[in-house]
């Protein structure tokens, strides 16, 4: 989602090949298999969370990458046994849960009492918080780029090429915010086909200026690095990493749409009990603080801030820091559970017009 180049077919094939590498027969009792998105994101997870948590529990954790919740479905439905835990966005977990392909998480084992409100669900234990933002090229606009979604959609005030996501996620919310809908009413307006059409019409109005529809975090980061577009929607952590690599990119938290990522367990996972304990371990604030050193995705456990586990300067860069969070809309997973297919088909229709 955030870091993997998501050519779906390629990913499925790669995943199948990768899974074949796991030897299921010789899998010991104290070994867990976890999959995530690869790239800078999984590197942070591996060094900051996966391996230290495994060491603390005295178990072995093997890592691999995967292509998203459809891979989990593929595995569960075909009765294969490839991994015990996966890292996924809240929305992916929610749809997987609705499909009945995930184990319900046991919150008597996993302690989420210190989690920020709403940052865990029946099928997903929240681990980090990220934001979809509007990023601009500072070479084109200097410091005065599109600081709100209204700016992003204003092609007169901000002439230039844009990129938006090829998938519907967080794009409709941005369009409605640009259209003047107050933050607290967004999901109420979107709760009807008319509302969805209103958001799509807003995107239609700037469609000639949309040069690229991006499909992966790596792609939108590259678009900004290469100066291929003047502004794009995308994940904040990706832009921060690109900036460290020399990209001329900036963004304002006022465009932020917060979402979270966590861990889930596929239905029938062999090491389910151990997986549950391992997720409980990974929820500890020290791991989240360590992870956040590698990529600007904030902790879901508020203890990180309370215990001062993160330097103030770094904390200020996190989407979930109160100073940043107060400007932002929180993505509503329940809306996606209800409307995703309809909205996604309409979105594709708008793209192909």
């Amino acid at each position: 989602m955030r870091s993997l180049l998501k050519f779906k077919t390629a990913a499925i094939v790669a995943a199948a090949v990768g899974f074949a590498g796991f030897s299921t027969a010789s899998m010991a009792e104290d070994t867990l298999r976890i999959v995530s998105w690869g790239g800078a994101y999984q590197k942070g997870q591996s060094v900051g969370i996966f391996q230290p948590a495994a060491k603390a529990m005295g178990i072995t954790v093997k890592e691999d990458t995967y292509g998203g919740i459809s891979d989990v479905k593929l595995m569960v439905k075909s009765g294969a046994d490839k991994f015990d835990i996966f890292s996924s966005g809240a929305g992916g977990c929610a749809s997987g849960g609705a499909e009945g392909i995930l184990e319900k998480l046991d919150y008597s084992v996993i302690d989420v009492s210190n989690h920020l409100p709403g940052m865990y669900s029946d099928y997903c234990a929240g681990a980090d918080i990220f934001s979809v933002v509007a990023a601009w090229n500072t070479e084109t606009y200097g410091d005065n780029g599109p600081r709100t979604w209204a700016d992003f959609f204003d092609v007169e005030k901000f002439p230039g090429t844009r990129a938006m996501r090829a998938k519907v996620d967080a794009q409709l919310e941005a369009a409605l915010l640009a259209d003047g809908v107050p933050m607290e009413d967004i999901y109420q307006v979107l709760d009807s086909e008319e509302g969805i059409d209103r958001a799509l019409d807003k995107i239609r109005s700037i469609k000639p200026h949309i040069a690229v529809w991006w499909t992966s975090g790596a792609q939108h980061a590259q678009l900004m690095k290469d100066g291929e577009v003047d502004m794009t929607t995308g994940w904040n952590g990706r832009f921060d990493v690109a900036k460290l690599d020399g990209a001329q990119v900036s963004y304002d938290w006022k465009t932020g749409i917060m979402d979270w990522e966590g861990y889930g367990i596929p239905k029938g996972a062999k090491n389910k009990d151990l997986a549950m304990k391992y997720i409980a371990e990974m929820m500890k604030p020290e791991y989240m603080a360590e992870f956040a050193k590698y990529i600007t995705y904030g902790p879901t456990n508020k203890k990180v801030y309370e215990l001062n586990l993160m330097e103030e300067s770094r904390a200020l860069e996190m989407p979930s820091h109160p100073d940043n969070a107060k400007h932002q809309l929180t993505l509503r997973t329940a809306w996606y559970a209800k409307w995703r297919t309809i909205a996604a088909e309409k979105y594709t229709e708008m793209m192909t017009e």
């Binding site: 479905k73 793209m351 192909t352």
Partner: protein
């Protein structure tokens, strides 16, 4: 007596012919089994799955969706448009090259062939990204052209239909050239010489003698290119910038969106049926037999 001998011979010959028949059948058997196991059964399964709805029961919902949403018809039109254009440009670029290669000495033709084959052996993904690096807004081609003052604004080569076509034609060209070149090499050069000796100008000799003889190779190449284009995924995804959505891309996004194979299978079935229909009509319009006789 003589009649009897003939009959005996006849029986032996028939027996031999029959044995030969079985041998040939035996030789093709592994292939037939392979086709059955790897093509017929999966396609049948695909067809079956396309009638399974999200709740697991028999349903037409996967086909209804395609009728109700305009996106699907547009995606199919794009798929065929891109495939036809790619095939056309491949022929336009490939035919003269194959002709040139067939007219020069084998040694030089082999050197040319290396030029055709090296890109063919390079990963499709690498070549696709290479085009992106070369042709994007601040890519090599645009920055050099702007620096030289040839253009004032960068040209939008990629993230659109033209980018997709450039990438796909480059990847597909060897598939046209290889069968065409083999065909052209096999054409007896004396045929063209005979035409000339009878007074035909070089142009006339080419169009009335050489070109018709090269048509089987050309058709084979066109067919391979066209059919391979229909299933393209990576190149339009990368070079099309989301503006060129082909059937394969929608198939994969449908698996993700609907969590059901049926939503994706139905697209595959429609693509297969439409393709077969087009090839059937094309084969009626351009009679293959006619060309077969001429060559």
């Amino acid at each position: 007596m003589a009649v009897l001998d003939q009959n005996l011979n006849q029986a032996a010959l028939t027996q031999l012919a029959q044995r030969e028949h079985y041998t040939f059948f035996g030789l093709t058997l592994p292939y037939l089994v392979l086709v059955g196991a790897m093509i017929i059964i999966p396609i049948g399964w695909l067809f079956f799955l396309s009638f399974i709805g999200r709740d697991g029961s028999f349903s037409f919902e996967n086909y209804e969706r395609m009728i109700n949403s305009k996106a699907y018809i547009r995606i199919f039109l794009t798929t065929f448009k891109i495939s036809i254009l790619t095939t056309f440009f491949c022929a336009l670029l490939g035919y003269p090259l194959a002709y040139f290669m067939s007219q020069i000495s084998r040694k030089w033709a082999n050197i040319c062939m290396i030029g055709v084959l090296i890109p063919f052996w390079t990963s499709l993904l690498v070549r696709t990204y290479a085009w992106l690096v070369l042709l994007q807004k601040k890519g090599l081609v645009n920055s050099v052209a702007v620096d030289l003052g040839l253009i004032s604004e960068p040209i939008k080569f990629v993230h659109n239909t033209s980018g997709t076509l450039i990438g796909m034609v480059h990847i597909m060209l060897p598939f046209l050239i290889l069968p065409l070149y083999a065909n052209m090499r096999a054409i007896d050069p004396h045929c063209v010489k005979a035409a000339s000796s009878l007074g035909a100008t070089p142009t006339r000799a080419f169009w009335t003698v050489f070109f018709p003889l090269s048509i089987p190779g050309l058709l084979a190449g066109l067919l391979i290119v066209f059919v391979l284009c229909l299933g393209f995924y990576v190149t339009p995804a990368v070079l099309g910038g989301g503006k060129v959505i082909m059937a394969a891309m929608k198939i994969s996004s449908n698996i993700e969106l609907y969590f059901s194979w049926g939503a994706a299978s139905a697209l595959g079935v429609v693509l297969l049926v439409v393709t077969m229909l087009i090839l059937f009509i094309a084969s009626k319009l351009v009679s293959l037999d006619q060309f077969g006789q001429r060559s």
